[in-house]
Symmetry: D2
Subunit: 163 residues, 4 copies
């Protein structure tokens, strides 16, 4: 009997497939905290930030969905429980952020920047941890909600959904 999860919050964690050790630690802590709060973790399914977040969620018994760019389900990191195989290349980034009710961005790859843009475009809340800041014509855009640490990021993401 699989426990129902449909009404749990679905949170997308976005970040590069390469990252620093410190960014991986942040992502893992985000994953752990999401699982403790009962959230389903959605991500791009590969390595780096995605793997670290899934590892954290798995350590707390959380559920992880990996929306893969390629054609091979075995490309998913070992902590992904639900591999979704898109074959869409980077266009899958749009699917990752649409499948989260809020997004937590960790670190700053260009793929992550594209996901931040997609999420803000859709009106999906974006919480940032050591990630991009953006400005327009010299004026800062404050749409990305800044978090001070992983627990803060998860709290802010969950509150942003509820609003």
């Amino acid at each position: 009997m699989y426990p129902p999860v449909r009404k749990n919050p679905f949170i997308a964690v976005i970040g590069g497939s390469e990252c620093t050790a410190q960014e991986a630690e942040l992502a893992e802590a985000v994953g752990r905290e999401l699982a403790r709060k009962g959230a389903v973790l959605v991500c791009g399914g590969l390595g780096g930030i995605m793997e670290a977040a899934c590892r954290g969620a798995s350590a707390e018994g959380g559920l992880t969905v990996g929306i893969l760019p390629g054609d091979n389900r075995y490309a998913a990191n070992t902590y992904v429980q639900i591999p979704v195989v898109t074959g869409l290349g980077e266009a899958r980034n749009a699917v990752v952020v649409k499948s989260g009710q809020a997004v937590i961005a960790v670190g700053g790859s260009y793929g992550t920047l594209s996901e931040i843009g997609h999420a803000l475009r859709n009106g999906t809340p974006v919480v940032g941890l050591n990630t991009w800041s953006i400005s327009r014509n010299g004026q800062a855009d404050c749409a990305i909600i800044i978090a001070s640490d992983p627990a803060d990021a998860v709290n802010k993401a969950l509150s942003a959904i509820k609003e």
Copy 2:
């Protein structure tokens, strides 16, 4: 704590969002049987065949993934546990069949025909229940594995993966 499902078989059930009562019964029985065998059910997330299959899987405590064409997670039928929100329109059909290790087609909408084409193109086994048959220049193409009933369809789909 969620039971791990990564190594369970992932089977896509494809069929139209409108169907006859008899087709819905077949799809529901397919969903039930998949759940009993421990398979994760992947589908397009909407009504008709997709909803009937998810209802069957849910009745047996199975896990259901719905890969939606639109932008609204609440468009998923009520038996979908994991809504994946693509916004891709019918291009999501390619994602549905790539996310299954085998495909069971029930009934015959044109969307289902597109999914059968995508699956055969990828070399993914397709099992058919009351679905399309296809021929080329007057010669039958036998790539669709014909099943006699829902239990037979599930058995054939699971065996086709193992091969």
Copy 3:
């Protein structure tokens, strides 16, 4: 100064990247005839049927659009004038048929079958030359308009738009 083409008919020619010599001849004749009638040819941009159709259109000075599955614009056959680079894999099939106001299918690959399904699903007219025939529960589905030769295929496709 490019001649305006927006109001010209846009016709998608679909078919496999491998084909027989006879199928290539049919596709080339379809391309020639489309160009003579002022139609813009849309296709998947690769070899086989797609290349033959583009070669025919080019020989008559027609305009050719190739909607590619991969990331490399140079993968387009040499007769494509407008390469559209999707990176979407086979999901680009849905884009090919949406970009035509009618579809001409030549030969019978499984990718072509997926495109026929997508087009019929959308209500886009499909004309067939030596291609799939489909039936449901033993009953022929006659949605594919059968053409006897390339000129007939082009005439039927153009008329189907006008209707």
Copy 4:
């Protein structure tokens, strides 16, 4: 006889469907200049920046490709000569930037930000006119090539391809 364009530069102009009058002027001048230099203009096909750029290109007899998010070819602005109908929603942003050999960003919508991210991720040169600036952990990222005016933007985009 349609003039061959395959070897011409293909430049994507990205920007929001709503924009200020001043941004529209910039975009129109970019379109005009691209056409004068023989470039094919690729864009998202809708209003705002996209329409202004296509209007400019049309005034100089240039060729314009509009890669539309929806299902309706008639949603293209009136200056699009080649409408590509994707039905992919915002995932089409990835297709727009892949179809340009360089990208010129005008103004700053969030959709544009997603396109900048996709382009930089792919290694496609991005030239910016009154657009986003981005920084990571407080450090400016200088990957976006800043242009001082439309002619400068077009020159920089064309040079960036040649490199």
